[in-house]
Symmetry: C2
Subunit: 132 residues, 2 copies
DNA sequence: CCTCCACCTTACGTTAACGTCAACCAAAGG
DNA sequence: CCTTTGGTTGACGTTAACGTAAGGTGGAGG
């Protein structure tokens, strides 16, 4: 109704996933769409979470790890103990991601060198590459 | 013999993997250890490849994608056509990795904010965090 | 000679993350 | 009223990336 509500189909269209995927994520408690009768309805926060899920997957996190991280994004009225654990978990993840970024930076530089080399080899063999 | 040769056990020790993993990678044609009778022997280039494999996995690449990438790291006397394809594949991966790096940078900043916020909340509740 | 150890192959088991299929409901349109 | 459209819940299938268990080999040491 209000355009803040989306059906499962619209969600799939928007984010390039299948219904099965969204239902699966719900079953794994990564998202919590509300129900109108039988049907699922997704609101803004669901979309925010989904974005984070898809991003997390690109970084190589498992769905379970992502589920933990998502709690960081909906911190509210939890017990202090739980909150502290979540915080520390977040710190760990942050270190992970920073490490990963450094490695990625190196790997990119490396790959770039290889490609440069490949270019010259191909040039030597008289191959014209699509200029870009 | 020469310390440039390593047994499967030594490899596992060095890189924190299981024998099964190395045999699996060989079966998938990601590494090509030489044989002394039955036994596998790993030389320097095998170790270089293994490093790249493990790194690639951290970036979320599948073994099959990694296998493609590895060809870039052993370009030699292949046909020019194949070489060109490999080169273009490498370019694609490079774009992927650069994109991933940007996203990762954003995600890190984001997570950092959350943690900062979490810190203040915990501080308000009188929780002392391990200073670092 | 026997045993242990490190390695081997073959083959079936496992987990994550969905895909696919069957059978069902409910609102909307012709 | 019937059919289409878009959703639902099981339940079983699939792929990647290994784990694991069973049984076999070859050399070193007691």
């Amino acid at each position: 109704m209000t355009d803040s509500m989306m059906t499962i189909g619209e969600m799939c269209e928007s984010y390039g996933v299948t219904p099965r995927t969204l239902r699966f994520y719900e079953a794994k408690e990564l998202i919590f769409p509300i129900r109108e009768g039988q049907k699922r309805l997704f609101i803004k926060s669901d979309r925010a979470r989904l974005k984070l899920i898809l991003q997390g997957k690109r970084f190589g996190f498992s769905l379970e790890e992502i589920r933990q991280l998502l709690n960081l994004y909906s911190l509210g009225d939890q017990q202090t103990t739980q909150l502290t654990k979540t915080y520390e978990l977040g710190l760990e993840r942050l270190r992970d991601m920073e490490t990963q970024r450094e490695e990625l930076t190196e790997a990119i530089a490396d790959l770039r060198d290889r490609l440069q080399w490949g270019e010259t080899v191909l040039a030597d063999r008289g191959v014209k590459l699509a200029a870009e």
